[in-house]
Amino acid sequence: MAGYAFILILFMSLLAFYIGRSAGNRFHVAAGRDTHSLPGYHGAFVAVWVGIPVLVLVLLWLGLQRPVIDQLLIASLPDAMTAGADRAQLSLYISEIRNVASGRIFAEPTEAIRIAANSLVRWEALARWAMLVVAMAVMLVALIIARSRLTPRFRARNAVERVLSGLMIFCSLVAILTTLGIIVSLLYEAWQFFRLVPVTEFLFGLRWEPQIAIRADQVAGQGAFGAVPVFTGTLLIATIAMLVATPIGIFTAIYLVEYANERTRKMVKPVMEILAGVPTVVYGFFAVLVVAPAVRQTGSLVGLEISPNSALTAGAVMGIMIIPFISSLSDDALKAVPRAMRDGSLALGATRGETVTKVLLPAALPGIMGGILLALSRAIGETMIVVMAAGLIASLTFNPLDSVTTVTVQIVTLLIGDTEFDSPKTLAAFALGLVLFAVTLCLNVIALRIVQKYREQYE
């Protein structure tokens, strides 16, 4: 039925468009160049006013119809059933009534339920027809009003364009709303968490054992929520990733920009893009099944003791993931150095290598730095690789051969499967999320500023 409503709206809007356009056409014949807007705009003006308000109305209606009918159903049930029933029990009734109404009967329903199911069928039909009638009425009124405003000098184009601009502004706000949503939801949950665990303990505590007993009689972690080891672990892995990715990425960019011929570039670039497009869950498997054993074996060959979940493994694989990121940003930064710099240096008799190292790299450094910072924030926020390859236990160490855990690993392990929203364990995930968001936000803002400044410099 909602489908019919939308079809009706579509039809009415088209009709409105047609009516508006013919009016516009008549103006045009009569007034010629004095008509302000093209006939199409007159049509669009009427169509917009007929279509958009009713669309909002119908969507609201559809959203509210179900809860209202549910309320009515519950009110219609005999007091004996509803008295003392809690929300859950009531929603079970509703669920049963709906099942009965749609013909899915598997146990003999009680009389009350059967009656309720019958009323449900009736009410729903009623509501549907009511919606159609109301929608139709609204559209007709809108049509009449909008049509009456059309005159040859009426600025229909401006009116339509204002509506379009409004829609576009609304769309731009989505990004803001998302951020607000993130901040509010994280802050809210984190605030709950900080009521249970003091902020100072969270930020400066040295022990992290969040897998607290989920039952009173279980002995598990003791519930320490000092996140420092988690932060250092994150930092350690991110640093290793950067150490792997930065040189490879920058050298790759240098080669592609300065040395490679067109053909090599055309071949290497898409392949690098594949490297960037590999889902991180795949890198996770790669880390666990290929890299970790290899690292451990190499370690035991030289007599080193390497944890199976070593930070080295997770960091190195994350580094691989980040290579294309750094190389493409460095590529951009190097390319943004004006050709004149390059020409200036080459014309003085510098080799390409000297040009790169002495002129281009220093000039592109801010851009590259910005890129590296962006990559670092990627590394800090990367999840799947570490979920699979890094450890779960937070140990305060800077030894890359040891196992450490990261913020994202903790968020995932604290949240997967378990959707209760009141245990400090679950809430801790949101506190970590907040920190993660704040840190990456800072990094990104700084990095973007640097990159932007740098771009402007050569604009």
Binding site: S95, F106, S395
Partner: protein
């Protein structure tokens, strides 16, 4: 909601999956949604309340705890049927590339994995880094054991079945049991957090694959995983006994536990297909000898016990509050 929802133990997960699939195929009804959340996580969601927003069934690799029962009760989930579906052995395994013939006592397991152990008659933080430090006959390699995290019933079962037995082998700790029960519980239950015991997440198969890649590490997981991978993995004897369907069923293999599912009776008759699903779950074709769950590694219960479960389903017999 017109779909059954199942949560709970990752050990029971494969069996619930198999039953869900069989049920959907056999009846043509909409396929149930089965999520693996770990026993504890599952209990928590399951006990969240009655109604279409809450799951109908949860799997557990140990019996429901008293605290969980209370949680359920406080949320109005009072009418629950408990169904045992079989047994599972907890195997400790190692790659076949490891040449040592492993045989550990529970005391040795405790010494290797507990947070605190007895050294020179005193209870101290675990100092052992190599197996040979525990018992000179064991290999001179690092202790590295992959195991499940605290949300999982496998972990609870392992603690209760292996660690508690193991710690009681030390008189110093056993003495505590009478004098200071809490302290005893704490010493016997806490796994070490300093590296040798690696919490490997809920993903048992990843543990299997990591054992294959690394012959010097041991892993703890359900017997079904060992059963599937017996060509590359071999078991570690516990107190001299190999895990197998027989030794698990007759109790001679010590670290075995029953597997359960719990059903909300309030949802029966409301959620379409729940009846048929449960009937399928406890049918002989599923959990009986040679049933399709046995093929997937479930250790089968004696026939009379199966009969009892089928009776429980038929009559929606309400479970009583667990003792502990």
């Amino acid at each position: 909601r017109d779909q059954i929802r199942v949560v709970g133990s990752s050990t029971v997960f494969p069996y619930s999956q198999a039953v869900a699939e069989q049920y959907a195929n056999a009846t043509g009804a909409k396929a149930p949604v089965v999520e693996s959340t770990g026993t504890g996580g599952g209990m928590k969601i399951f006990c969240g309340g009655v109604g279409p927003d809450h799951p109908d069934v949860t799997g557990a690799s140990r019996a429901m705890k008293k605290s969980e029962w209370e949680l359920c009760e406080s949320n109005g989930v009072v009418d629950i049927t408990e169904l045992q579906i079989g047994f599972d052995g907890l195997s400790i395994a190692v790659s076949r590339n490891n040449t040592f013939d492993w045989d550990l006592t529970e005391a040795e397991i405790f010494a290797a994995l507990a947070a605190e152990v007895v050294v020179d008659g005193e209870i101290k933080p675990n100092p052992y880094k190599k197996w040979s430090q525990i018992n000179p006959n064991l290999p001179d390699i690092d202790i590295v054991v992959f195991g499940p995290p605290p949300t999982s019933g496998t972990r609870d079962a392992f603690v209760e079945l292996a660690m508690h037995d193991g710690c009681n082998a030390y008189p110093e700790i056993k003495a505590l049991k009478d004098s200071n029960k809490d302290r005893w519980n704490e010493v016997c239950s806490r796994m070490r957090q300093d590296g040798p015991f690696v919490e490997a997440g809920e993903n048992d198969n990843l543990i299997v694959q990591r054992l294959n890649a690394d012959p010097n590490v041991l892993g703890i997981f359900g017997f079904s995983f060992l059963y599937e991978n017996q060509d590359t993995l071999k078991d570690v004897k516990v107190d001299g006994v190999d895990p197998s369907f027989e030794t698990i069923a007759d109790g001679s293999y010590d670290i075995a536990r029953p597997l359960f599912i719990y059903v909300k009776n309030a949802h029966r008759g409301v959620i379409p297909g729940l009846e048929e699903f449960l009937a399928e779950y406890v049918s002989d074709a599923a959990i009986g000898k040679g049933g399709y769950l046995a093929e997937r590694g479930l250790t089968v219960m004696p026939d009379d016990q199966i009969k009892e479960m089928q009776e429980r389903v038929r009559q929606s017999i309400k479970m009583s509050a667990p003792a502990s």
